[in-house]
Symmetry: C2
Subunit: 296 residues, 2 copies
């Protein structure tokens, strides 16, 4: 396989082009809304969830144009969640990836609406016939994504996060559940979406689901480690924010050494879950290793 | 037919029961989110959009349980839009239907998340096999609803509304477009949903679509008239809020007499659009008359 950085860059370029085609053009009286949607979607990032979609789809030889649409839908959904999470009433973050967050660049009302419209756009893209010729596949994608982002998924996880922000006593089980809802369900959707698009076997679907569970937690632990001891020049944010906020994290509970060991253990398990696939799954295996070794 | 008030009350009871079954139960750590979703969904209202869904479905002899699920999805979507519209950054409304608005009863972060999760729930309900046995029908519902509430629909309309709030010079074309996006597209979805569920003819679909266009505008003019000269005891809000805010409305541009005449003209056209249906459509005809004659 080509090296992971090249694959990820290729994937990001494909998905960003697809997103650009799917996002409304800023004309008409509501142009400001579309500008805000585009501003946040174009803010970059690793496009990790789209990468999972594209690589998962590749396992089942899914048409790349179809996969890119699902990847774009996932990134629209992710972007909406970042816009709303950054709002003053939520995490009150002025900056996102080195640029002003959406409500800072525009205003709060526009940011709320841009997030709302991006959620609707994600479902609109999945529902369109261009995403897959079989309506059973499209409706399955809508069903799974709506569950992944709803009250028992991403929104529920963000609610728990807000409620437990000031509880340094949270136990490991509670944090694991919080993260499974807040970020894990979306990773799971991205990872299994290829099996849905390609009508993979139940066994292949479950392998990808199990991969995503371990991958998601390892990703979060790595995030906590970067917050605790990362290089601010590389991460783009000050070190120790979680600790300063009195927030319980995997690192505050386990300590850095045990947290790092746990992340590596989870990644080993994630990679083992992919044993049912041949070397076509190597980019997913590489991505898993990258996620715990990354420096930003 | 039974009188309209009875039909509407029956419909509201059916839909509220369905909503209750579909809303998550407040347990687990994220219970507060579910409480907020339920609080706003249980705040009452005329349930006018669900009524349009149920009556539209009745024209095509759709199973009432299927129709009630679509009606519930529409009301979840409408409720999410009210929660977000009431936020301080938007219309900053402390009260809604005589009760504290969601962010007043809970807090802003919870209200934002409750709205987000209700939007996801609406799509989840439409995507579930219980809503219709044919995936083509379910995906068509998802497609149409996602378009009705997105950037070229409800969110776009609310954006224009915020941008033009201080422009008393808005012309009638601009206001018509604003309202068509902000409220009209959802009325249109509710009105045609029965034809989608019941696989009605293109002619029947278009008749309901045309009905909804006129109905939606008449509804909005009636709303503006109530704001300008309604009885605060009946409407539950002070008179003259739009004028005090310097907001352009159908009434500020046309004056009350011409606005009232226009609303009646639109309703006549809406009723005429239903000529392709027999007396089964009488409740829709009655609802149209009610909408311009209502006092609250």
């Amino acid at each position: 396989m080509a090296d992971l950085a090249t694959l990820m860059a290729d994937c990001a370029a494909t998905v960003e082009k697809t997103m650009d085609l799917l996002l409304p053009q800023p004309d008409d009286a509501e142009a400001r809304l579309f500008e805000a949607m585009r501003y946040s979607c174009e803010a970059g990032g690793k496009r990790l969830r789209p990468f999972l979609v594209m690589q998962s789809a590749n396992l089942f030889r899914v048409d790349r144009r179809c996969a890119a649409r699902v990847a774009a839908a996932v990134e629209f959904m992710h972007t909406y969640s970042l816009i709303h999470d950054d709002l003053p009433a939520m995490d009150n973050a002025d900056m996102r990836r080195g640029k002003p967050s959406c409500h800072k660049q525009f205003d709060e009302a526009t940011a709320i609406l841009a997030g709302d419209a991006l959620q609707a756009l994600a479902f609109e893209v999945l529902a369109a016939p261009e995403t897959h010729s079989d309506p059973n596949v499209r409706i399955e994608l809508v069903k799974e994504l709506s569950q992944a982002v709803g009250g028992h998924g991403m929104c529920g996880g963000q609610m728990i996060d807000l409620l437990t922000e000031k509880e340094p006593e949270l136990n490991i089980g509670a944090i694991t559940r919080l993260q499974r809802l807040k970020t894990g369900e979306m990773f799971a959707f991205a990872s299994v979406s290829g099996a849905v698009l390609g009508k993979g076997s139940k066994r292949a679907y479950m392998a990808l689901h199990n991969f995503a569970q371990e991958f998601g937690l390892a990703f979060q632990i790595a995030d906590d480690l970067l917050d605790a001891e990362g290089d601010p020049e590389k991460t783009g944010k000050p070190v120790g924010q979680d600790a300063a906020a009195g927030k319980a994290t995997f690192v505050s509970i386990l300590g850095t050494d045990r947290a790092r060991a746990q992340a590596h253990l989870l990644i080993d398990q994630a990679i083992r879950a992919l044993d049912v696939f041949d070397e076509t799954a190597d980019p997913l295996r590489e991505a898993a290793r990258f996620v715990v070794d990354r420096t930003n």
